[in-house]
Amino acid sequence: MALLADTTVLLGKELRTEFRSRELLTTTVVFILVVVVLFSFTFDPSASESRRFGPGLLWLSFLFAASLMLQPCFLREQNNDTLSALRLSVRDPFSIFLAKLSANTLFLLLTEVLMLPIFAVLYNVHILAVFPQLVLVLFLGSLGVAIPGTAFSAISAQARMRELMLPLLLLPLLTPVLIASTEATGALLDVNPALRVDWLGFLAGFDVVFLTALWLFGEYLLEE
């Protein structure tokens, strides 16, 4: 299948360029770290308080970090007009989005998994027992952030005030992701951890809706 083949090739390119510089990953990790530490001053991070506020602040910091991290996604392609080269080369323009959003999901997931232990130590919550389940929540949530995020980064790259524009477009739209991910994470960090399948299903539904929309309308986002 041309779509899958092109996506694989493009994903390889995204990963290679990122791991060569590691610009995005390092800055995002540091950004989340800063936010997580700053949040600790806003309440008393004892175990019980952290269970109440922790999941929300964790996901808010992920969302803010993502809205900054996704910024260069299409901007990078403008520097040398490489987006035009891609458009002339690929057989299905959806592969450009598919590769970018896979790479973005992976980058987000990597930084989040890296941040989890630090968060757990700073906020006195136990994550070891529920780590695989947490990663599942992180994956579905990050995918939900990355799909509209990648789409809107193609828009914001061509707007004025683009650094502000992407968070402005993205964050209100991500309300359902924030709620679902926070609730699912909260249930896992509870004294009696529970895997909230309903919220996971909701996240998966969100992912499917926007992936379909991107598949239908993505190519128009690339028009010149």
Binding site: V9, K13, T17, S84
Partner: protein, 234 residues
């Protein structure tokens, strides 16, 4: 360069219009370009040269009118653009090596044996020795070589070049002129936008001047061409 890898192809622009909001980039441009012609487009900045080339490359959607590629063995072809496009920007990734860039685009274009194709093109543009270097470390002239190699990946019968000589030193210009001459002599149709006369404009067999989005002069006669091309620099 193998000669029979492509079919000589002409281009027919029929009443092309492009509006950006209330600004006309092109107004009813109609041109018939024969297979194997080498056309130089001249005109001020903003006269519509770039837009016309980008429309031919199928990167920009025309507001009205259409572009047809006319293969010499058939009446009409209007499939995926058989054109190689060299833009003002390099259209290759600075963070990848020359070889990685060519491999990437060769694979995306579904070219059989991308590895050997990339190697052959690197050889042809004289970058074999630097193929493992990041494009970021290249001079403007070397970048332009990678850009041209990328445009040639799928053996295009039509080459579209947007101000290919910009930023090149005299050696680079000579190299580019020689390369384009080989392309032309192999039977490729070449459309290029130029600024002023140079070794490159000397290759042209036809000159077209655009002004404010309209064709104001179009000639195949040597002396008239000189007038059109030298005027463009002003």
């Amino acid at each position: 360069m193998k000669a029979a890898a492509f079919t000589p192809t002409g281009i027919r622009f029929a009443n092309i219009e492009k509006r950006y909001g209330n600004l006309y980039a092109l107004r009813r441009v109609s041109l018939e370009i024969r297979a194997g012609e080498c056309v130089a487009f001249a005109g001020r900045n903003g006269s519509g040269k770039t837009t016309l080339l980008r429309i031919a490359a199928r990167l920009v959607r025309a507001s009205a009118g259409k572009v047809d590629f006319v293969a010499s063995d058939r009446q009409e072809t209007d499939s995926a653009a058989p054109a190689g496009f060299v833009a003002h920007a390099t259209m290759v990734y600075d963070e990848l090596t020359a070889e990685e860039n060519l491999l990437l685009f060769a694979k995306l274009q579904g070219i059989a044996e991308p590895g050997s194709r990339a190697a052959a093109l690197l050889e042809e543009v004289g970058l074999s020795e630097r193929r493992k270097s990041l494009v970021r470390t290249f001079s403007r002239g070397m970048r332009q070589r990678v850009a041209i190699a990328r445009a040639l990946l799928n053996e295009p019968s039509v080459l579209l070049l947007d101000e290919p000589a910009t930023g090149l030193d005299p050696d680079g210009i000579t190299w580019l002129a020689n390369t384009l001459e080989r392309m032309r002599d192999a039977g490729r149709t070449i459309l290029m936008s130029l600024h002023g006369e140079s070794e490159i404009s000397a290759l042209a067999s036809r000159a077209v001047r655009l002004d404010a989005g309209s064709v104001v002069a179009d000639t195949r006669t040597g002396s008239d061409m000189h007038g059109i091309l030298s005027f463009a620099g002003a």
